[in-house]
């Protein structure tokens, strides 16, 4: 009777190398780490984009405030001229951002409120809200407010 002797050149420690499961787990951990790094970059890009859009929305709100600033409100002339009323500043859709190809436009909407604070002395409050949508998941508002007296 002849027995084949199982023989290995390796000692016990060398036989216990990486198994397939261990390799897969190691690869999974590596992929998680790389995904984490890339995810961090993507998050920072999204944050930068959000900040840029927020700045643009603020600028658009300021533009509207400046337009109301230029409205003629003269109480010393005859007849008095008053362009500083809410009907003269209806809701306005503005473009906050678009790419070079003209696609991917982000819109905002300016809502203008004008209210009388005081009659004597005459003073009005101008409030502009620029409402915009970030990636279709979050509604954000940038507001600007100022007070204005009549033209001299």
């Amino acid at each position: 009777m002849i027995h084949k002797q199982s023989c290995s050149p390796y000692p016990t420690g060398a036989i216990a190398g990486l198994t397939l499961v261990e390799v897969v787990i190691a690869l999974g951990i590596s992929a998680l780490a790389v995904a984490g790094i890339v995810g961090g970059y993507l998050f920072s890009i999204a944050s930068a984009q959000k900040s840029a859009l927020s700045l643009a929305a603020g600028a658009k709100a300021i533009e509207r405030v400046e337009e109301t600033r230029s409205a003629i409100w003269s109480i010393s002339s005859f007849p008095p001229v008053d362009q500083l009323v809410a009907t003269n500043f209806p809701d306005e859709v503005v473009i906050l951002d678009q790419n070079a190809a003209g696609n991917g436009i982000t819109y905002g909407t300016n809502f203008t409120q004008i209210s009388q604070i005081s009659v004597d002395p005459p003073l009005r409050r101008i409030h502009v809200d620029c409402v915009w949508n970030f990636k279709g998941i979050q509604l954000l508002t940038n507001s600007m407010e100022t007070c204005r007296a009549p033209d001299r």
Binding site: M1, I2, H3, K4, Q5, C7, S8, P9, Y10, P11, G13, A14, G17, V23, A26, L27, S30, A31, A33, V34, I37, V38, Y41, S44, I45, A48, A52, A59, I62, E63, E66, E67, T68, R69, S70, A71, I72, Q83, N88, F89, A100, D151, R152
Partner: protein, 201 residues
């Protein structure tokens, strides 16, 4: 019972030698290491590219925001403001009945007509410049400006004016284009703002 002699095992082989990787093990290990290294390097290259893109935008945006901030302050508190065009640094004002759009803006802080600040586009090098007569200096405020009509005067409803009436909004538009060596498409950006003079007489 007869046992076959083990051909591979050798009593003379030391433990250090037989504990080494075989060729397949070494190849697999190297491949895995290269994959991991490639992933990390790729992620860093991607991040560097994004960083460069954002750095360019932020730097350009920061400089121009400072410019616009200074200009809006000067317009708000000025005594008078004129739109026109600048040729070789010489300002030519727009006349009445002409659409109030141009590449230069002259701001007079006081009633002294010889004291003014001039913002203008130099088309030869696409730079946006600020010239102050009080200090006789001209500084470059922004570069790679591509649009030639930077300023326009409009009424409160957004209509472009054809005269220099008192109540008007100065609309400023600056468009920039910077080629990107890393990208097939250059970086385009646009800044807009509106300013109204506060001292309406």
């Amino acid at each position: 019972m007869k046992q076959l002699p083990c051909l591979m095992a050798s009593a003379q082989t030391s433990t250090r030698v037989i504990a080494a990787f075989t060729l397949p093990e070494a190849l697999i290990s190297t491949t895995l290491f290269l994959l991991l290294l490639g992933g990390v390097v790729g992620a860093n290259l991607f991040g560097m590219r994004m960083y460069q893109l954002n750095e360019t935008k932020l730097k350009a945006g920061d400089g121009v925001r400072k410019t616009l901030g200074l200009m809006t302050d000067e317009i708000r508190k000025c005594k008078n403001v004129w739109l026109g065009n600048a040729t070789n640094g010489t300002f030519v004002s727009l006349l009445d009945a002409e659409p109030q759009t141009g590449s230069a803006l002259l701001i007079q802080p006081t009633t002294n007509a010889t004291n003014f600040v001039l913002y203008f586009l130099n088309p030869s090098d696409q730079s946006f410049r600020r010239s102050v007569t009080a200090t006789a200096t001209t500084t470059i405020m922004a570069q790679t400006v591509t649009n030639t009509t930077i300023f326009r005067a409009q009424d409160c409803f957004g209509n472009i004016l054809t005269n220099s009436q008192n109540n008007r909004v100065i609309h400023v538009t600056l468009e920039f284009f910077q080629p990107q060596p890393w990208l097939p498409v250059g970086d385009y950006s646009k800044l807009e703002t509106c300013v109204t003079r506060r001292r309406l007489d």
